[in-house]
């Protein structure tokens, strides 16, 4: 443990990007992700890579678009309202089948909201966000270690599927300090990019475009994109289970809320209530089959999110009415405490809220 460094999730993202051989970072400041452009402004030039603070979020995503066209590994980062500004660009990038990585350190919303933690950008991340039939492959770290390790994964998925990949965080995961092993032990694949617009000397021109007037061309593009998503649904589902084997009730949560739920599982188990945790790591593709299997074996679900109820819809789709799906959500920057969620668990089992060994009743 002596070799571990105590850093924030946002800073771990930067070390992960460097390890992933990210060529270019384009960003625009917004809390609670400012440590990313700050650290990148130091690390990228130090490694001979490009760092540029753009004049706006719209400019930054279009710079990513350009760098990706040239076959470079490019990324941007922002927080909720800033991501909204980038969604037009994301639709273009997805339509052009370009790889890139976007980090969203979600804050309380909607609107400008506040700088506190939120998870209310789930729909925007996993259902497309911008216009048209595209998806972002979306992965959600729950620790500072995963912030580091998910960046090489994100760039690899982006190149493999030629599609933008979102790393979906929140202000807790981005701002918390944890000890991290910066092991640099990654297998970084080089993907040939014969489609890149990187100079046509000695070959025919490559054209990267999302404007295709003819229906058959545009529908052909759509079919190709959808085939990639079908492949991602087969090969890229990632999740983690904790004490679900004999659980009557399975908590479903991602990111920092999953960390909170992990403590709730232990608290409930200490009281003799058989609870487990299912943590989707890939939010798109969503681990729907795994949840359907848990539902088929009679387990009920309690979904916890820092939103008014977004991922719970995907859980309900997977469960397809076969069992009960409860929900607990907090919004606007409020963070559920372990006791608060424990009391929801107790309510499912017909038990009164705990107050005795804590200072106050919650939630």
């Amino acid at each position: 443990m002596a070799t571990k460094k105590l850093i924030k999730g946002n800073v771990a993202i930067c070390h992960g990007a460097i390890a992933a051989r990210c060529d270019a970072f384009f960003g625009y400041p917004i809390t609670p992700q400012n440590e990313i452009p700050e650290k990148m402004s130091e690390l990228m030039p130090a490694h001979g890579r490009e760092f540029l603070q753009a004049e706006s979020e719209v400019a930054a995503i279009n710079m990513v678009y350009g760098a990706a066209c040239a076959g470079k590994r490019a990324m941007t980062s922002s927080s909720s309202p800033g991501i909204s500004l980038k969604t037009e660009g994301l639709s273009y990038i997805a339509a052009c089948e370009l790889p890139c990585v976007i980090v969203n350190v979600q804050r309380g919303g909607p609107g400008l909201g506040n700088t506190l933690p939120g998870q209310a950008d789930y729909f925007q991340a996993v259902k497309g966000g911008g216009h048209g039939d595209y998806r972002l492959i979306t992965i959600a770290p729950w620790s500072v270690q995963e912030c580091y390790e998910f960046m090489p994964l994100a760039f690899d998925l982006a190149d493999r599927y030629r599609n933008p990949v979102m790393v979906l965080m929140d202000a807790i995961v981005g701002q918390m300090l944890e000890p991290v092993d910066l092991h640099e032990n990654f297998e970084i694949h080089e993907y040939p990019k014969p489609w890149a617009t990187n100079g046509a000397r000695g070959r025919a021109h490559n054209i990267i475009n999302s404007l295709w007037i003819k229906t058959e061309v545009m529908e052909g593009l759509n079919n190709r994109i959808q085939a990639k998503y079908a492949a991602a649904r087969r090969h890229e589902v990632r999740y983690q289970e904790y004490r679900t084997d004999d659980a009557d009730l399975v908590l479903v949560a991602y990111g920092s809320t999953a960390r909170i739920c992990r403590s709730v599982v232990d608290m409930a188990r200490d009281e003799g209530i058989a609870v487990g945790l299912f943590r989707p790591i890939s939010l798109y593709p969503f681990p729907e089959q795994q949840i359907a299997d848990l539902a088929a074996s009679g387990r009920r679900f309690l979904v916890a999110e820092m939103s008014a109820g977004q991922m719970v819809e995907d859980v309900r789709l997977a469960v397809n009415g076969s069992t009960d799906v409860y929900f607990h959500g907090r919004t606007g920057g409020a963070v559920p405490t372990p006791t608060e969620i424990l009391n929801k668990v107790r309510a499912v089992f017909g038990k009164p809220p705990v107050v005795s060994h804590y200072g106050r009743t919650e939630g």
Binding site: I172, Q175, L177, P179, P336, G359, R360
Partner: protein, 180 residues
């Protein structure tokens, strides 16, 4: 034996709430245990409210959020009033009595009164009040060794504040001596 400690440190922006939490976190890593430090603050550098949660454990840490911390280090009245009700029953509340009155409705808790600003003033700089509070907490609860806190100073403090390290160390010792 599992050593598990949850503490909330709260005060006004500029009182050094975050930095004493980071010292605690760094010292915990140095001693080879797990830690999560999580901050909450407004957009201001000074004057707003600031708090951080530090969870230290010899096991893997789940929630970075504490429902009911074992201890509260409160540097001013506003944040003491906000967080005192959430402290675990029979927990510890350290009050900076230079700026706050001890809570009257938590008789179950051990209330530790520390005139931190006055002591820091005696040492020549009231800005070291945070270190007095940290010294008292570390001595009382022993989540880490005071020496590990001192050894974390250079890493945690920005270089422009390294000149304050001797003062900080003296303030830590004074805080510790108060509760020893």
């Amino acid at each position: 034996m599992n050593k598990h400690h949850e503490v909330i440190i709260a005060g006004m922006g500029g009182q050094g709430v975050m930095v004493i939490g980071q010292l605690l976190a760094h010292a915990t890593v140095m001693e080879g245990r797990n830690v999560v430090w999580f901050p909450a603050y407004g957009p201001e550098t000074r004057g707003g409210t600031a708090d951080c949660t530090v969870i230290m454990s010899s096991k893997e840490i789940g929630s970075p959020v504490s429902s009911s911390p074992d201890a509260l280090i409160a540097l001013n009245q506003l944040l003491l009033d906000k967080f005192a009700p959430s402290v675990k029953r029979e927990g510890i509340i350290l009050v900076n009595t230079s700026l706050a009155k001890p809570p009257r409705d938590r008789s179950d808790c051990k209330i530790v009164e520390i005139p931190a600003n006055a002591i820091a003033d005696e040492l020549g700089n009231s800005r070291a009040a945070n270190m007095v509070m940290l010294g008292a907490y570390v001595e009382l609860v022993k989540p880490v060794k005071l020496e590990s806190i001192k050894a974390s100073m250079e890493e945690v403090l920005p270089p422009r504040h390294h000149g304050l390290i001797p003062l900080n160390n003296a303030a830590l010792d004074r805080g510790a001596a108060l509760v020893a």
